[in-house]
Amino acid sequence: MRHPNQATLALHAGGDLGKFARWKLERHLAKCDACAGEVAAYEATRDLVAGLDDIPEIPWNHLAAEMKANIRLGLAAGECVRAESPLRLPWFSTGRAAVACASILALIAAGIIVEGPKPAPLTVLAQPMVEATDNGIQLTSGGSTVGLMNRGVKSENVSYLPNAQGGISASYIDPSTGRLTVNTVYGQ
């Protein structure tokens, strides 16, 4: 059985597959527990990602306007302090100025924290993967595939040996040459 690639499974989990492809894949999923499990895992990941988006709306424009206003207020206050003695403006005491500056700093800090780098959303990377198929070995990576085929050989007459370095070898007698052939596909 030929399994669909990870990108197709991920698209299906997200409901982004076309009608025909979805119908075709659903037929496969009905028979293949492994792929159905993969789709379930993608769906679980998708729900998790969706949950991350549930950050409450923040009125950025309002916040920015408020920050600008406060900064202008601070600057104006500074001008006032320079121009006249603070004693003549009792409503603008040193303590109040300090509170105003602290508020501005707090607003800036909050802005930096909220606007700063957000945690990266969970994404399923297109990992290279090597596997034996019905008639050969195939490397899949990012929507591309490269494979070596065992043409004209029954799969029970092919000896597959995975390699923990990231590849798979298939050895068989090539019917067209009569020679022993060892195909290897390396994932890295």
């Binding site: 009608k19 025909f20 028979k31 293949c32 527990d33 492994a34 379930a40 895992a41 679980a44 990941t45 994404t123 399923v124 990377l125 990992q127 290279p128 993967m129 090597v130 596997e131 034996a132 050969g136 070995i137 195939q138 490397l139 990576s141 990012g142 929507g143 591309s144 595939t145 490269v146 494979g147 070596l148 085929m149 065992n150 043409r151 029970e156 000896s159 597959y160 040996l161 995975p162 390699n163 923990a164 370095q165 990231g166 590849g167 798979i168 050895s171 007698i173 090539d174 067209s176 040459t177 020679r179 022993l180 052939t181 060892v182 195909n183 290897t184 596909v185 390396y186 994932g187 890295q188």
Partner: protein
Amino acid sequence: MRLAVLGLLSVAVAPAQDGLLPKGSVGIIVPNDSPVVVISSSTDESRTALRGAALMLDLHMSLTLRNVGVNRIHGITLRVVSQEVTIGGKASVAMPSLNIGPGEVFPVRIDAQLMRPTQMSAGPLVEVSLDGVLFQDLSFYGPDRLNSRRIMTAMEKEAQRDRDHFKRILAQGAPALQQAILASMNRQAERPRLDVRVIPHGPAVTSAATAAPEQAQKFAFLQIPDSPVQPVQGWAMVSGNEARAPRIEVKNNSSKAVKYVELGWLVRDPSGKQYMAASLPASDANLYLPAGKSAQVQQETQLTFSRERKPVNVQGMTGFVSQVEFADGTVWVPTRENLSRVMLDKVVPPSAEEQRLTEIYRTRGLNGLVEELKKF
């Protein structure tokens, strides 16, 4: 409605763009001083096709090579690289167990499939180049970018071992040889097999996020009596039917320095059945293990096991040393007797040569097999 029209257009256009392989799509590189030359090459049966936005290349290539050197050729490896460099993958087609004399010609066949999401661009889509030639005296020619020297030398050592084994049996009479080869065929048919998916760098997001939690599982070891290197301890991370990041400490018990170690990795399912999961090569390309010293064999790969489309959970793991290359370039492989002594002959795949000899018996009968053994 628009979708339906587009669908029909796609169906109508796609076959029109199917066709023969454009000239220059496959490059063949053989150095001028190579002991083999290309006599002829054909890609007549090859096809390209557009499937949606993807380009599909179905390559069927026949090469005829001639041995223009003075030594008998016992193995050859061709490197096959796709133009799609971003995929990071490569492939090889090797022919071990050859016996090609000077001046003789021999065929090589390459069947490859390539699918990528972009249109065809300039330059060859696939490049086939010579990676190495192994001679009867185990000398080697070639750039060896895929470690073909070591791989083919180990195959040749196994081939010599297995030919000698069957020749010794032949010395007892043809019926004894027939019995031995039938036993080999039975072993090959009964050997439990696993389907294994390999993810070279381990998972970014595990597909088993909802499965059993991952845990470090220890390896048990089979000590092969004459092995120059012994496994000491090791483990891998296991979760259900997935295993990754194996690490095994090995010790050089021989008197010679070692530059490569490869282990066999067996897994046991909950019913107690053992399978050959993978070979586990040393990851360090510059490994140098002096006599008496220890080193660690490790990989970051993740393997996923299944059988008949059902996950096979890993209940236990066993390791054994399957290949050692010494610093002087000589290679050690286990003897058949020692493989049998630790019951590995029923689990590990047959050597490429044993596979070839049984196929000769299957197609040419006992007399054909006897004739073949006499050639070496």
